[in-house]
């Protein structure tokens, strides 16, 4: 399915800074800039992937959009409404339309609840339908994600990892959300099960028109599910482009490094491009100028002082680099 072009969600300059406190008086001595000015849009029925090394802020971006981590700055616009101006009731209706699937299918399901109650919880919380309708909806959802409705009385630990992830997806789908944040949806699963879950996600997108914001470090997964890809480095997006473009021809040196370091199926292919330095700088003390200049083979003096902004290149591609 080709995504619609009007943005459903637009994120502008999102920031999440965690204070670093020290000393007896717990004075703030600095901040971890986990997300430091991230902007992107997400269209209806589109899958946008956030990729990057661990600690680059990709998961935090997802959590901040879910309201699970408090953003310290920036604007989020959802279907024409500004989210920060939302009052409590409106926030609840926003949460109905945006859901999350977690990475770990073991800790994301309450071990003391039956599957029926886990999937029903969203309906109970938002008071959807009568008791009978909710029961019916649970059966329907279980079927939809490929579980047998007669397993509804089981506890989560009686299921395999893949089945548990299906339960998590059924819970996220219960309220018919417009957007599902998938935080590393398959990285905790066996490779043989990953494909099944990814196919389920794309079937659901085709049938229900749901948008995904997928957070992943697995480029294979990203290439399989995404329409567009955003590459993050130290809390910033350094390149955002349609999937085919970014995989065929990465523009930002960091994107190139990321693509080259993914293992290839061809053993004769060698890394042709390598970073000059493998140490990832800390998010508490980011390098001046372009944050990537400490590792970039193309870095020049301008990179050390001037922070490059995202700017348009060829169609649909934005890159933050002085040289590419």
């Amino acid at each position: 399915m080709q995504p619609d072009q009007t943005p459903l969600l637009s994120v502008d300059n999102l920031q999440v800074h965690f204070p670093v406190r020290a000393g007896v008086l717990q004075r703030q001595v600095g901040a971890v800039k986990a997300v430091d000015g991230v902007s992107f849009t997400l269209a209806r029925g589109e899958t946008l992937s956030l990729v990057g090394e661990s600690g680059c802020g990709k998961s935090t971006t997802g959590l901040a959009l879910m309201g699970l981590v408090k953003p310290t700055g920036g604007q989020v616009n959802f279907d024409g409404q500004e989210i920060r101006s939302f009052n409590r009731a409106a926030l609840k209706s926003y949460r109905r339309r945006m859901q999350i699937v977690f990475q770990d299918p073991f800790s994301s399901l309450n071990p003391r609840q039956r599957v029926r109650d886990i999937i029903r919880a969203p309906l109970d919380i938002h008071n959807v339908g009568t008791k009978a309708e909710r029961t019916e909806r649970v059966a329907e959802l279980m079927q939809r994600v490929g579980l047998r409705p007669d397993q509804a009385d089981n506890f989560a630990h009686q299921f395999s990892g893949g089945q548990r992830q299906r339960i998590g997806i059924a819970r996220a789908l219960a309220l018919n959300p417009d957007i599902i944040v998938c935080d590393e949806p398959v990285s905790a699963l066996d490779v043989s099960v990953q494909a099944q879950i990814l196919n389920l996600l794309s079937d659901l997108q085709r049938d229900l028109g749901v948008s995904y914001l997928a957070v992943s470090h697995d480029l294979g997964v990203v290439e399989y599910i995404s329409h567009r890809v955003a590459v993050m480095y130290l809390g910033r997006i350094v390149e955002i482009a349609p999937k085919t473009k970014i995989f065929a021809n990465p523009a930002h040196p960091y994107t190139e490094l990321l693509m080259r370091s993914a293992p290839s199926h061809d053993p004769r292919k060698r890394h042709q491009f390598s970073a000059t330095n493998d140490d990832i700088p800390s998010a508490t003390r980011k390098p001046s100028g372009c944050a990537f200049h400490t590792r970039c083979p193309l870095a020049t003096d301008v990179c050390k002082t001037v922070d490059p902004q995202l700017s348009a290149r060829d169609e649909g591609r934005f890159v933050a680099c002085h040289h590419r």
């Binding site: 309201g67 949460r95 309450n110 071990p111 609840q113």
Partner: protein, 281 residues
């Protein structure tokens, strides 16, 4: 897997057997007792344990076995009331402090510290001295001291549980804090609460006996274990079994509840560690 493992735990089984025996004695006291509680037999004062009086008699010729059996009722009533109430109060305080954190946590935990700062028995004595004797007043004196333990343990459990993804998922769904606390967190925090409660029964019985021993418990002629122990000391030369038997009764009862609690901890805790983790088998 669950039952066989529990049955293999010796301290759990012994503790459960002792506790159950004492609870049954208390419930069926009129049938288990051989004499009336206040039935005096002046010709048989200070009788040694014999066939007619299983544990002998006291200075009024009252049957000690029957007094111990009825004493179990009082001790257990007070212990159960105080454990249930302090568990409920402490659990709610711990859940709220742990879940909300910040100043709520600070405030509630400092209040807890204030209660912990008092020497327990002195505080209980003062409360009974002000309120006067009575089952509820003695229970209240014990609750005031005992709830802090639950609050601290439940708070630390809550701090761990609230970071679990299923709690995050409930938040993402827009669940209210009350729903999250009682439906998502509390069911997973029950293990340590159950362990504390069974250990707490023993502690409560000790506290009640201590108050009775010092004369701040239920007034005579109520057959409390602590008071029997106390006035038995007056006849230590002539009838040492009065104090020895009532003391031993208290000891065995407390031992039973402690073994039960330790056993429950062994059975419940490893599970507690793996709960929510990957190794739930």
């Amino acid at each position: 897997m669950r039952l066989p493992k529990a049955f293999q735990n010796t301290s759990l089984m012994v503790g459960a057997a002792i506790s159950l025996a004492i609870i049954l004695c208390a419930i069926f006291a009129p049938y288990v007792a051989t004499h009336g509680v206040e039935q005096m037999d002046m010709r048989n004062r200070f009788a040694l344990p014999n066939a007619g009086h299983l544990l002998g008699t006291d200075n009024f010729g009252r049957d000690l076995w029957s007094r111990m059996v009825f004493g179990a009722r009082i001790s257990l009533t007070i212990a159960i009331i105080s454990v249930v109430c302090s568990a409920v109060v402490g659990t709610v305080v711990g859940l709220v402090a742990g879940y909300f954190g910040g100043w709520v946590d600070q405030l509630l935990m400092r209040i807890t510290d204030i209660f912990l700062g008092f020497p327990a028995i002195v505080l209980a004595l003062a409360i009974v001295a002000v309120l006067g004797p009575g089952v509820l007043n003695v229970s209240f004196a014990i609750i005031v001291v005992a709830w802090t333990e639950y609050a601290r343990v439940v708070r630390s459990t809550t701090l761990v549980l609230r970071e679990q993804n299923y709690v995050q998922a409930a938040r993402a769904l827009g669940a209210s804090p009350i729903r999250i606390i009682f439906k998502e967190i509390l069911p997973n925090a029950l293990g340590p609460i159950i362990v504390l409660a069974s250990l707490g029964l023993g502690t409560a019985i000790i506290s009640e006996s201590a108050l009775s021993f010092l004369g701040f418990g239920l007034p005579p002629p109520t057959p409390t274990w602590g008071w029997t122990l106390s006035y038995g000391t007056k006849f230590m030369r002539d009838a040492p079994w009065l104090s020895i038997i009532s003391g031993a009764t208290i000891m065995v009862t407390v031992l039973g509840f402690n073994l039960l609690g330790d056993g429950l901890r062994d059975v419940l805790d490893p599970r507690q560690l793996s709960r929510g983790g990957a190794k739930t088998k």
